[in-house]
């Protein structure tokens, strides 16, 4: 064992022991496993269905009872993606693309089928987000994953055809804009901002939850576009090696 290991150990062990004690102290104060004490959760479970006609109480919290928090989260995602883009996006993409054509016909075929199937699953997760488990965030990420499969199984060229900043940026704005617009719609109708001002509809159908479906689709568009922008930026740099200047 070298000196460096000894020094590392001398620093790490007391810190780890301290953290361990803190963790154990915290965990020992928790209620027993499986015993949920939150009043709020029980309350939501009781009132979500009669009040909002949504059979998925989680979505009712996300897009209604705590809709304002979700608005903040939308903008966190929006701002985070803008930050990544500003750090990574280059003026020109002069770097040469690596040859990455997919040569296996089997992979291309199965990939194409999978893209379609996963895309439909994503749409279903979004559309029925307030009826069954799912919602705008989950569905949006699935949609982005389906589009990413185009790159993984069909190659770089078909992916670049639509995964570009010009195609994706408007969708990002549209997603956040829809959310704010629905919130302002409530204000124009004379209710507080983001108040669920549309009729609750019929529980268990796509016409339920009032303005939740619109917030839901806005979130889905925002999340799918944000993820795809991230993939595009990172893949661009993965595919195009840095120019001689940047190598330093």
């Amino acid at each position: 064992m070298s000196d460096r290991h000894v020094v590392r150990g001398m620093i790490a062990l007391p810190v780890l022991a301290g953290l361990g004690v803190l963790l154990f102290w915290g965990l020992s104060g928790l209620p027993p496993f499986g015993n949920y004490h939150g009043q709020y959760g029980h309350l939501i479970n009781t009132i979500a269905l009669p009040q909002r006609h949504t059979t998925n109480a989680v979505t009712a919290v996300v897009f209604d009872y705590r809709g304002f928090d979700t608005l903040g989260e939308e903008f966190i995602l929006f701002a985070a993606v803008i930050g990544v883009v500003m750090l990574l996006r280059e003026e020109s993409s002069e770097g040469r693309s690596r040859p990455d054509e997919v040569t296996s016909d089997q992979l291309r075929l199965i990939g194409a089928l999978a893209v379609g199937a996963i895309f439909v699953v994503g749409l279903w997760l979004i559309a029925f987000g307030f009826v069954t488990p799912g919602g705008g965030f989950q569905g949006g990420v699935v949609i982005a994953g389906a589009v990413l499969l185009v790159y993984l199984t069909q190659g770089h060229r078909p992916w670049r055809r639509f995964a570009t900043e010009h195609a994706l940026d408007p969708f990002e704005g549209l997603g956040v804009g829809t959310y704010v617009a629905v919130g302002l719609g409530a204000a124009i109708a004379g209710a507080p901002f983001l108040h669920n001002f549309l009729g609750p509809g019929k529980a268990g159908t796509l016409v339920s939850g009032g303005s939740m479906p619109f917030l839901n689709w806005g979130t889905a568009i925002e999340v799918a576009a944000a993820n795809l922008v991230l993939y595009t930026e990172f893949l661009q740099h993965y595919l195009e090696p840095l120019g001689p200047k940047e190598r330093g």
Binding site: F137, V141, G145
Partner: protein, 90 residues
């Protein structure tokens, strides 16, 4: 509510602890990313067993598709676009 046997809950939690340790102990970057994806997939099962399908759905795609890709691309980027021999071999 569906009744989930306590043994099943214990099993997935123990497996999660084992795979989490495996992630930390992986010294090879590429392998670590794959093991981390498997760990994420196991967390999906944990959420499912604990009857939190909404969280499971979020975790499913993020941990197995989005996160590995971003990490891989970021590592590649930080090493001038190429993975070193250490990443490829043990």
């Amino acid at each position: 509510m569906v009744h989930v046997p306590a043994a099943l809950q214990a099993l997935v939690l123990v497996l999660a602890a084992l795979l989490a340790t495996a992630v930390v102990l992986s010294r090879n970057t590429l392998r670590q990313i794959v093991v981390n994806g498997m760990y994420g997939l196991l967390l999906v099962i944990v959420f499912l067993v604990l009857q939190a399908p909404d969280v499971a759905l979020s975790m499913l795609v993020v941990s197995t598709v989005a996160y590995p890709l971003i990490v891989l691309a970021a590592i590649s980027r930080s090493r001038n676009g190429k993975l070193t021999d250490r990443d490829r071999e043990e």
